[in-house]
Amino acid sequence: MVRPTWPIGGAGEDVSRQHDAPRSKTISLAEAARLIPDGALVTFGGVLLTRPPAAFIRELARQRRRGLRLVKPSPAYDLDLLCAAGCIAEAAIGITTFESRFGQSRQFRQAVERGTIKLREHS
């Protein structure tokens, strides 16, 4: 019988080290936010006030990211905060609101009215 030759490891060679755990992808919040360059086209998970990456959004604002273009069907806190902090240049959205008793997304609305962001609205 001919022993098959594998791409990694010769016959009898211990290949178990090829299967060591891969390197961890965990980094800090600040390091992760630094991966996003000014002007990036970004999308954020979650729907309205449910499960947005809020801590990450705040870190982008603290790092004074500029010119971000957001595409998201239903942003709320995330878009409003980034508008308030001057991080957003453009937004393509379906609906945005804080819902119920919290009312409208006022910083977003003001940014649109003042023309400081470009809005593409698709609802």
Binding site: A21, P22, S24, K25, T26, I27, S28, L29, E31, A32, L35, I36, A40, L41, V42, T43, F44, G45, G46, V47, L49, T50, R51, P52, P53, A54, A55, F56, R58, E59, A61, R62, V71, K72, P73, A76, Y77, D80, L81, A84, A85, A92, F98, F102, R106, Q107, R120, H122
Partner: protein, 157 residues
Amino acid sequence: MQAASLGIPFQPVPGLHGTDLPATSGLAKVRDPYSEEDVYVVPSIRPDWAIVHVHEADDQGNARIHGSPGYDLVMTEAAAHVILTTERLLPSKEFAAHPEWTKVPGILVTAVVLAPGGAFPCACPPDYDVDARGIEAYLRAAGSANDLEDYLSRVDP
């Protein structure tokens, strides 16, 4: 983003005939080669980055989302790069034991950030609901640059 998640250049969309939306959004029409009827199409959108908050992830970016994933799975498939923030980090063997619970495969993910409470003051059901005082604190601060800076410096630990 649905189109980008599938690697196709555009997506047919029903229900727009008779509305002003195609004109205001500048949507093109194509001829369906099968029915030979016109159909509106929206262009593919491929974000540079998708950032998604999940309940559980391992250090390779395999992730579980409990309850409705909303549009998050489409976002992670459509974007060029993905960052996850997660309530909890679990060992990879937990994901290997229950692969059917994995919603985001780690192969799509560039980086993972441990961020317990990372959706606050918004909700992360079933772990926590919207924090009304947290939302109100933001709304009070957001109108002034100084107050917003103060808010950003004290809201995260």
